[in-house]
């Protein structure tokens, strides 16, 4: 009986001692933190996507507080949420151009020539490592949805044509798809940059057309038709450089013989497919 009492008393004593220690530590080692930080973090989407350039939402909140970022720097927040944060901080929301992920390939099942049937691993990277899937083009989209899986916001779905379609309303320009694509087909650019080159084939003429019906065959008509300096040809592909000339107009695309360069002020592949059809759900094939 006695030993139990001793044990209980010792434990209680220890508890009191450490509690006192913690109380003292709390008093003297206290770090002053802006109380707004927690509130701000609560107002941010909490997806920690990194599209703002900060390693997570809390870090972005810190940057908001010290004034090195504007509320519109968060591309995930809705307009209302951004305005709310701006009001809370009493600052201007700032202007942040809407940026989205764009695919530099337009060669889906219906356009790209198929030379073989690919039966390997069901991922783009697997196909890329193993001789490049079944398409004859070794630069284009593999169509096995690595980007769809990588997108945390559900903004990418594979179309029935085998190409990823980006939902521009949901896309936060976080860049996960850029990293996921083994062929580096995604670029993040402002939505207003509507002149899109949907091809990466560095070949010219017949060789390029033999691979895909929407391949760029390097005829360079777009470069001639665009405002001086806006488009230049590099490695048999047009490069649209918005800093070098302008304004960009749809004219540049009118004489394109294949439709490799397009004027897309909205989501890509919208005209091909008015109603997106989800043909592929997230994969659950592998056991972990």
């Amino acid at each position: 009986m006695n030993s139990i009492l001793v044990a209980a008393a010792t434990l209680a004593g220890l508890g009191l001692f450490f509690a006192a220690l913690l109380a003292v530590a709390h008093r003297f080692l206290h770090v002053e933190e802006d109380p707004r930080l927690d509130i701000l973090e609560g107002k941010l989407p909490g997806s920690n996507c990194g599209a703002c350039g900060s390693p997570g939402c809390r870090a972005f909140a810190e940057r908001l507080l010290n004034g090195s970022a504007t509320p519109s720097g968060c591309t995930v927040s809705s307009e209302d949420a951004t305005a709310d944060i701006a009001e809370f901080l009493g600052v201007d929301a700032g202007v942040m151009e809407k940026r989205v992920a764009r695919l530099q390939c337009g060669g889906g099942r219906a356009q790209a020539r198929q030379i073989a049937e690919y039966e390997g691993m069901d991922t783009c990277r697997g196909a890329h490592v193993l001789g490049g899937g079944g398409k004859g083009c070794s630069w284009g989209c593999l169509g096995l949805a690595d980007c769809e899986v990588s997108c945390d916001f559900g903004a990418i779905h594979m179309s029935s044509n085998g190409l990823p379609v980006v939902d521009i309303d949901k896309c936060t320009a976080c860049g996960d798809c850029v990293e996921a694509c083994p062929r580096d087909l995604f670029v993040i650019q402002p939505l207003s940059h509507a002149l899109l080159v949907q091809c990466k084939i560095p070949l010219a003429g017949e060789q390029a057309r033999a691979l895909c019906s929407v391949a760029c065959d390097a005829c360079s008509r777009c470069a001639q038709d665009a405002a001086p300096g806006l488009i230049h040809m590099d490695n048999n592909l047009p490069v649209v450089d918005y800093t070098a000339g302008g304004p960009a107009r749809p004219d540049a695309t009118f004489r394109c013989p294949t439709g490799a360069i397009r004027w897309v002020p909205f989501g890509q592949f919208a005209e091909d497919e008015p109603e997106p059809v989800v043909v592929r759900q997230a994969r659950g094939r592998f056991y972990v």
Binding site: G50, G53, S54, P55, I115, A116, Y118, E119, G120, M121, T123, R125, G126, H128, V129, L130, G131, G132, G133, G134, G136, S138, G175, P182, L203, Q207, R285, F286, Y287, V288
Partner: protein, 474 residues
């Protein structure tokens, strides 16, 4: 007896299927067009030196080495250069290539140049001649041969190991070379052994090729510094490090070359080519290819000029059966499945295997049973089961920590797995991720270093912004 045969620990023993072993090597007749991609080997692609319309002789140099880790390329036939446009490479990509149309009335004799004494001149002359003759490792990886022969200062080669294992199922080209060309194999081994200053040349041959062992022993009679060692039949014994372990019982450290333990390893066909290069002055313009598999009508061992389209080779072998489903270049374990048969035979092509649907049936994948068979099979002592599990959840950093980059993708784990988990496939994909990450990190590091160098004085604000840049760089 079994205890006396040497081998390495772990590994697997797939069914051998070496049905083409008794078939003598025959010369394939010439076809109309030859396509020679400039990237036939590991390292920098060669640089073309011919123009469209130019007449070239068989054995004439058509491309110069593009760097030290690169070799010259020679025309396999007498004919005319027809195009320099990109053509499909066996790996699926479109790469610059030289297309040559044959001259139907030319003799197409095997080119004979001036013989040279391999022991005369400096080692640089020896290395340069081999590079100019276009020799690469003919075992399959096509690593430029001369790079290995340039022994770095301070390193000593005690022993030359000649790799006659041919551990991949189906392939028999090295076997036939050892049988029919034993003199050249021994001659090449002696040349190389003396040139690199090794005491001993050891030819390692698996025990399923005892006739080759006998032929080589016969050819090596009188030279007691050439020995032929029979090895137990096991895959992947033909991998450099496994062969060193099997023959000498020494382990090559991870990430190091066999040179670390004083050994140089070369394939039998490669050393046989050394005899061609020095005694006859013949560059590498053709190689022996095994055409086999259940979907080939007439399996054969063929001498095929480099650049022959796979389609022509298969046609010469009687074509494919109707249920042909997949064609693999190289062995079934590590070979490259072809996306098109309009690709050429390249220097590293050891075999062309055609499989039928039934051979390719992909059995359903089950849960990992933690049975450990893959661990017992892995020749480099990794834990494939754990790596596969990490690969499925995308933990590539952890995989790097578990030495995934030491995996040589031999496929023993996938072969051994009773649950049909595509282990090696998952690892291959992950390795591509890890490589990409390492490359990105290197680029970022170089960029940072350049930025640091560009800044004249590293004062407060400069430092802070550099740090900031690093933090925000995702």
């Amino acid at each position: 007896m079994k205890l006396l045969t040497r081998t390495f620990p772990h590994g697997v023993h797939p069914k051998e299927h070496k049905d083409t072993a008794p078939l003598p090597i025959e010369r394939m007749p010439f076809t109309d067009r030859y396509v020679l991609p400039l990237a036939q080997h590991i390292g920098a692609p060669s640089k073309g030196i011919v123009k469209v319309g130019q007449h070239v002789e068989r054995g004439e140099k058509i491309a110069e080495p593009g760097g030290f880790v690169s070799v010259a390329l020679h025309s396999p036939v007498t004919g005319t250069v027809r195009s320099l446009d990109p053509k499909r490479h066996p790996n699926g990509s479109l790469v610059p290539a030289i297309e040559i149309e044959i001259d139907r009335y030319a003799g197409q004799e095997t080119p004979r140049g001036t013989p040279a004494d391999p022991q005369a001149g400096s080692i640089d002359d020896f290395v340069a001649r081999i590079q100019q003759m276009g020799l690469v490792g003919l075992g399959g990886a096509a690593f430029p041969a001369h790079v290995k022969y340039r022994i770095p200062d301070g390193a000593v080669v005690k022993e030359l190991l000649v790799n006659g294992c041919e551990c991949e199922p189906y392939l028999t080209c090295d076997h036939r070379v050892m049988l029919e060309n034993a003199e050249d194999v021994v001659r090449g081994s002696v040349v190389l052994r003396d040139r690199i200053g090794a005491h001993l040349a050891t030819i390692g041959v698996e025990r399923n090729k005892l006739d080759a062992v006998a032929a080589l022993q016969e050819a090596a009679k009188g030279d007691d510094r050439v020995r032929v060692v029979p090895l137990e039949v096991k895959y992947p014994q033909g991998a450099e490090k496994m062969l060193v372990k099997a023959v000498l019982g020494v382990e090559v450290p991870a990430g190091k070359l066999p040179l670390e333990v004083g050994v140089l390893v070369n394939n039998v066909s490669t050393v046989a080519c050394l005899a061609d290069i020095f005694d006859r002055g013949t560059p590498l313009v053709e190689r022996v290819v095994t055409v086999a598999g259940p979907a080939v009508r007439r399996p054969s061992n063929l001498i095929v000029p480099i650049g022959t389209p796979v389609r022509a080779v298969l046609e010469y072998c009687g074509g494919l059966t109707g249920d042909a489903r997949e064609i693999v270049m190289g062995g079934p374990m590590m070979g490259q499945p072809l996306g098109s048969i309009d690709v050429p035979v390249i220097k590293g092509t050891s075999g062309l295997l055609a499989f039928t649907e039934s051979k390719l049936a992909r059995p359903a994948e089950y849960h990992c049973l933690k049975c450990g068979r893959c661990v017992e099979a892995c020749p480099v002592f990794l834990n494939p089961s754990r790596l596969a599990r990490l690969a499925k959840v995308g933990k590539y950093e952890d995989m790097e920590r578990f030495q995934v980059m030491d995996c040589m993708e031999c496929g023993s784990c996938s072969y051994a797995c009773p649950s049909n988990i595509p282990i090696v496939q998952l690892i291959r994909v992950s390795k591509s991720w890890v490589r990409e990450r390492q490359r990105d990190a290197k680029i970022a590091q170089a960029k940072e270093a350049a930025e640091q160098a560009a800044k004249p004085a590293a004062d407060g604000p400069g430092d802070a912004s550099a740090k900031d840049g690093k933090e925000t760089n995702r």
